[in-house]
Symmetry: C2
Subunit: 477 residues, 2 copies
Amino acid sequence: MSDTLSRHPVLSALRGALPEGAVRAAGPGHLEEPRGRFHGHALALVLPSCTREVAETVRIAGAAGVPVVPYGGGTGLVGGQIVPDGPAPLLISLERMNRLRAVYRAENVLICEAGTTLQDVQDAASAHGLLFPLALASQGSCRIGGNLATNAGGVNVLRYGNARDLCLGLEAVLPDGSIWNGLKRLRKDNTGYDLRNLLIGSEGTLGVITAASLRLFPRPRSEAAGFVAVDSPAAALDLLALARDDLGEGITAFELVARQSFDFLSETLPDLRQPFGDTPPDWAVLIDVGLHGAQDAGAALTVLLERAMAAGLVRDGVLSGCEAQRAAFWATREQIPEANRRIGSISSHDVSLPLGALPDFIERARAAVEALGQFRVNCFGHLGDGNLHYNVFPPKGEQRDRYAAASDRVRRTVHDLVDAMGGSVSAEHGIGRLKVADLERYGDPAKLAAMRAIKAALDPRGIMNPGAVLRQGVPSA
Amino acid sequence: MSDTLSRHPVLSALRGALPEGAVRAAGPGHLEEPRGRFHGHALALVLPSCTREVAETVRIAGAAGVPVVPYGGGTGLVGGQIVPDGPAPLLISLERMNRLRAVYRAENVLICEAGTTLQDVQDAASAHGLLFPLALASQGSCRIGGNLATNAGGVNVLRYGNARDLCLGLEAVLPDGSIWNGLKRLRKDNTGYDLRNLLIGSEGTLGVITAASLRLFPRPRSEAAGFVAVDSPAAALDLLALARDDLGEGITAFELVARQSFDFLSETLPDLRQPFGDTPPDWAVLIDVGLHGAQDAGAALTVLLERAMAAGLVRDGVLSGCEAQRAAFWATREQIPEANRRIGSISSHDVSLPLGALPDFIERARAAVEALGQFRVNCFGHLGDGNLHYNVFPPKGEQRDRYAAASDRVRRTVHDLVDAMGGSVSAEHGIGRLKVADLERYGDPAKLAAMRAIKAALDPRGIMNPGAVLRQGVPSA
């Protein structure tokens, strides 16, 4: 294996400092992302098995001026884990650091290492009768360190918040190789600057997260889902307001699905049983309810939807009679990205808008994209969070390759509109390398200057995931 | 008025740049905190009426090398707003910036300026049928900018989180005088480093918060409270677990009250009608429930407490039959700090512990304090958040003045124990100037070095509230 490694002196230093087998050649799996859109290079793959070894790696890399890239499950969609050019980095994969360190059942707290997969975190919580609510399509392979580094979102944010809201404390290796022991299990801790939230969402540019203290929740005793047809996104928002007024925090998820989603599913996954069969509505909402105590979620959802029908907000719908049906509703929702992948988008956008601006955005974005060509738009996502996955596809029967040239125009059109309406061009996927120019274009100048100053202060040699989030070589403010 | 002002050249520059009357002599009200424990000095009080004027003030101060201290309601308990020595600062009071900029009812969002009092924010939410859940004893006079700068806590954190959890976006003047326009109304926004959370809790040392975008919530339709006697803090925690399992997020507050609290209330406020009359229990819990939809909070609380009694967790208790009684329960809880003030503590501690460690901490702290002398301990607070106000008083019949010498020993004893048990020596009040040495003693060295580097990077001239949180003159790492 070592013969495929370069003879860079940093590698012999690392081999001397780390156990046998901890320094390897990076295989193709680590050098491209799942959709094949980004390809990178690496000096080597480093596999530390404890925090001290991560710190050692960062110190050695820093002394040699070699970049390091923290690597989780490799599922990120914005190229944050892939270095396409410049000096070849060391990929520090956390995959060996996947130990559950402790579960504090009475405290609703779990501490695990950064390489633990999200699924394993969920399962560990379940084994104690508790819930870790972060839930994503890639949960089987993404790792909690990556979820935190990118402040991952997913389907339960409405009720439980983003990854940052689920984290009480961190252990991390900072760019100078020091170890921050911040694995607190405290709900309140006002001792100085919020380094935890600074690292969360910094996409590996300010340090390597090595372990986390996570919040767990009592598992709702009764759960039910409904898939309902609504006239418009505006009606969907009215339904959300009614639902929150009726059930408060009991609304776990509130997802918008466009007719285009159902059509793509029929086209690419014909065996999937869809909730509306052959006659999908223009707009649908998947609403998920989880209640505590003696309450019956199905009954509560029935009452809510009767009220919503009486108010003219809901046209039609199906309620999950059993857990298998609820799972089937979710399977429909969760297969949409796969259907999109098979159709092949020209440009995909992970955007958020102020809730009240969403209906207007959907209308104006449609008109703006139509003005560019006869594209198909699949607009779906986490409506309750104001987060849409707004994906643009070639006309029916055509391949995306023919439209590569249109991609930039589409993207600029959508992002300009999002920005003009007070939204964000990265709701839950992060900046990575894909959106560095977007951040420069749409980001607040004072905030960008502060970010550059913080980056230069904490990582003066610029070794931590250089080129992600912030362009390299921009002088600090 | 100007004759009481010094002739410092920065003052003429400010008078030239700001409207008539915006630069004044600071009165005694701005130079000491409510309990009279900190006294400070100031070059002048500056009263900007818009963000541009704040920026202008910071720029002029920065050019002259004069410190600035952002000043909210002046209710902070750790001296963060009071500069006792060193160069006299400009106090930038936000009191004129108290405009409600917008309420987005359908989005559950409110935007207001930093000088708005917490009570006015609550009232504005109420006027729209919504809830802003941050609630503190000083809500009539504290201002939202100060609440955010100190990441205030209060009684509803269990359900709704700290001030940081209630903030979607900020507008702030950074130490270089630039304005960060970050008043987003988004639930998800992963565009770069989390500057919002960095400013929140930085106690005015990284910038001046000038406006905030705040989260509102549907108001629970049915609310009820219970004041119940429990055998021990451990039983109180078991009750909390049962309550959360039964009512989930419906538990709004869960406060621990010690027998000493009731005794101090009887002694200092004999007219207050107490829930347990003349026979208070050793430990009591005030539990507050708010439910949505058609649920009856009183009925749900009754069922919960019957289960808790059957399980031997609750001995005795009273339920609020009406809103007036619920208010009376809360009045009892909220008068405890006033009773403490009248008795006069030797040392007060705002600490948090991992939930599971609380009973053991209470036991061990009692023994440790008893070993120092015959002190009385009043231990009460936000049990659901693991946050105790652990206050130590002289023996009955004696005044605190005689025990001034013991204060440091008591404080060190309590804080050493908190630290050894994985807790925090500042749960919700912040560091200010009172706890700078504590932060140095108990803080993680890597985190402290990162904090100093961030401070030096964002405020290289050290003009923003110097000496708060971080000691002045410590070289950055």
